[in-house]
Amino acid sequence: MTAAAPRTVRSLLLLAPLLVFLLAFFVWPLFSMMSQSVSDTAVLRLLPRSAEVLAGWDRTSPPTLPMQQALMEDLRAVDDDQALGDMVRRLNSARSGFRTLMGKTTSALGDTDNPPADLVSIDKRWGKPEFWLAIADALSPLTDRNLLAALDLGRNAAGEIEHLPADQSVNSVILVRTFWIAALVTFFCAAIGYPYAIIAASLSGWKRDLMLAAVLLPLWTSLLVRTAAWFILLQEQGLINDLLRWLHLIDAPLPLIFNRTGVIIAMTHVLLPFMVLPIYSVLITIPKNLMPAAASLGAPPLRAFLRVLLPLSLRGVASGGLLVFISAIGYYITPALIGGPGDQMISSIIAFYATGSANWGMAGALGVVLLVATLLLYSVYARLSADEPGRR
């Protein structure tokens, strides 16, 4: 159809700007983050010549003179102290002792009066293969260290994957905590949101409008404002504690902020609309006479709910649950402001590694974990919402 071609061209031209924009500023950053998680150029950057020479080494025979000369040349050429520090740190984490070894070596190389002939003369350790092995391994541009570390795994001396010792295993703790908090929030959202949606769907007129407006209003309000509101309310001298004391329900103020309780309350409040709206939209498609029909057939209210309403609304509950869970695991602001140090979720750790300690490798690796989890859950969610039962 020749008439369709210019239309298609036009459509493509309309799509192109956003497509290019997102590829550049959305997909590329994600890729760059993912590549950072596996990239490891701290050593390669500074030792190009050694890399070439070491490529021919068999990893068992003692270090040859060309190897030592290449390394000396590279080290002399280094002018960036920061990069050198990165390299040393990297090598040291692979094999301890590098810090002192490198320090000794670089100062000896800097001595122009007495240039050493080879490295072994500076320090005997250069004669042994172990340190050279560490350099050779560190020269590879790719590494799985970060990804493994993100899951609290590491490679031992033999190269096998094993669990890191307990004092280094913070990431899995945080991952578990993140999923646990998200699960709790999802549970509370369902426990409050499902009945709320059922009641709203069964009403009509101003009452239903009121219930829906109450759900939509927080959605329209900024997340920051809502979190700030909870920050103010949950204080020890805050409104909630004051109210509870005024009602004589408690004597001393409850600790509601900077702990798990506060985080759960605030996140539940923020994410509740995401649970209510999908469930509600499924409920209103259910014919209104089904529950009366079930009653007329002898079903008491609870059995009618379990046999009729629940199966028909399950899709909405699953959608809402997934939406809440996906949002919750990625949350940064609310746990950061309302939570205590023991409540930080994975996003805080990613931010810490990125902006705090400039460990882009770890930031990227944890980001990959979070991204993969999010995308997997989202694909389930998309499947669920697209899977409409066929209606005549």
Binding site: A293, A295, S296, L297, G298, L312
Partner: protein, 387 residues
């Protein structure tokens, strides 16, 4: 003493008088059915709107009663109250002598067939029909047997594994029927169940339901706005208007002997002619029309001389002739229009005082417009109705 009113049921004179208002004058109905359902002074308000007003109705065991009326007349509301979906504002509903106002729906043991069938979309046909039996805790084998029998009864056994969305409207309706009958309820309530079906299917279902009623001896309360449907299926028809029952009687009674203008106009087609009562003699009254003509007519309810009334004359009861003839009631009139309707001829008549419509059988001769004719009918073909 009305044979319908058993001595022990006769609580007070007021009740008798009230029941008497439903009594038909001339014939004594063969009406031995024990009363099973009773609506006693039922009133229902929605906010300030009165939808059912001080209503009394008794339904016998095994009887098929239609609640007939236009939308908003209260008939569906009454059914909903019987099922337990709504509560009357005042008054009592009695089942087999016991008040059931406080009994929740799921304990009332009534089968309900809804207007839009209300089949469970997430269950198969078989599961839908099995549902009430599961609620009653029957064993799996017994449930399977009963479901099969119920589906056989509506000729749908082959479709028991299908989902409702895969069935046609008529099939869904039959599943709804099977589901409402499978647990052998005491009463079956139907809320305009045939409204969504096409004409032929509807008429077939009407006969099928009537057949089921006769075979199983069910007590059925049937809501409809279609008067021909009510007349086809019912033992008795209760005609509703604005929350009250205007008349209750057998199909023949509500058709031939309408008690009020509303009933006369709602059921079938009728000619309503204004007049004033001149004299009353037993079951007949002489009414003088504005044209001066005098008509002798049967009376449904007592009237007094001088009372302005309506005369209801069914069009098919009017004979036309060019000669005066011997009939008791004759009106001089002229043919205004003459239409062939396939199974009858429709004649529009006009004289100075009032228009008339006559329906003639297809064997009658044709009367071209302009012909002067005499419209004749007997006293029994005509009814006096108080306005």
């Amino acid at each position: 003493m009305d044979p319908r009113v058993k001595p022990e049921d006769d609580e007070s004179e007021v009740c008798v008088r009230r029941r008497a208002s439903f009594r038909q004058p001339a014939e004594v109905m063969e009406y031995p059915l024990a009363e099973f359902i009773r609506f006693d002074r039922i009133t229902k308000f929605y906010g300030s709107l009165c939808v059912v007003e001080n209503l009394d109705l008794g339904i016998g065991k095994g009887e098929f009663v239609s609640l007939l009326g236009p939308s908003g007349s209260g008939k569906t509301t009454l059914l909903m109250m019987l099922a337990g979906f709504e509560q009357p504002t005042s008054g009592a509903i009695l089942l087999d002598g016991a008040a059931i106002n406080a009994v929740p729906t799921h304990k009332r043991d009534m089968g309900v067939v809804f207007q839009s069938y209300a089949l469970f979309p997430h269950m198969t046909v078989g599961e839908n029909v099995a549902f009430p039996l599961q609620m009653r805790g029957l064993g799996k084998a017994e449930i399977a047997g009963r479901v099969k029998r119920a589906l056989d009864m509506v000729q749908l056994s082959a479709l028991s594994e299908r989902r409702p969305s895969q069935l046609s409207g008529g099939q869904q309706q039959r599943v709804a029927l099977a589901r409402a009958l499978v647990f052998e309820p005491r009463v079956v309530l139907m809320d305009e169940p045939l409204g969504a079906l096409d004409k032929q299917l509807r008429e077939q279902m009407q006969l099928d339901i009537r057949d089921l009623h006769r075979r199983l001896g069910l007590t059925i309360v049937f809501v409809t706005h279609d008067q021909s449907e009510a007349l086809t299926m019912s033992d008795r028809v209760a005609v509703f208007n604005k929350g009250r029952i205007e008349q209750i009687g057998t199909p023949r009674q509500v058709y031939d002997e309408p008690a009020t203008r509303f009933v006369a106009e709602f059921i079938g087609e009728t000619n309503l002619v204004e007049g004033v009562v001149e004299a009353v003699e037993g079951a007949e009254a002489t009414v003088r029309l504005s044209s001066g003509a005098r008509i002798v007519s049967a009376v449904s309810a007592p009237v007094a001389s001088g009372q302005p009334v309506y005369l209801s004359i069914r069009p098919e009861r009017v004979d036309l002739s060019e000669t005066r003839g011997e009939a008791r009631n004759v009106l001089e009139t002229e043919v205004a229009d003459f239409v062939y309707q396939g199974d009858h001829l429709r004649v529009q008549l006009q004289n100075d005082a009032h228009p008339l419509i006559a329906k003639l059988g297809r064997r009658s001769r044709e009367f071209p417009p302009g012909t002067k004719v005499y419209a004749a009918f007997s006293a029994g073909d005509c009814r006096v109705i108080a306005p």
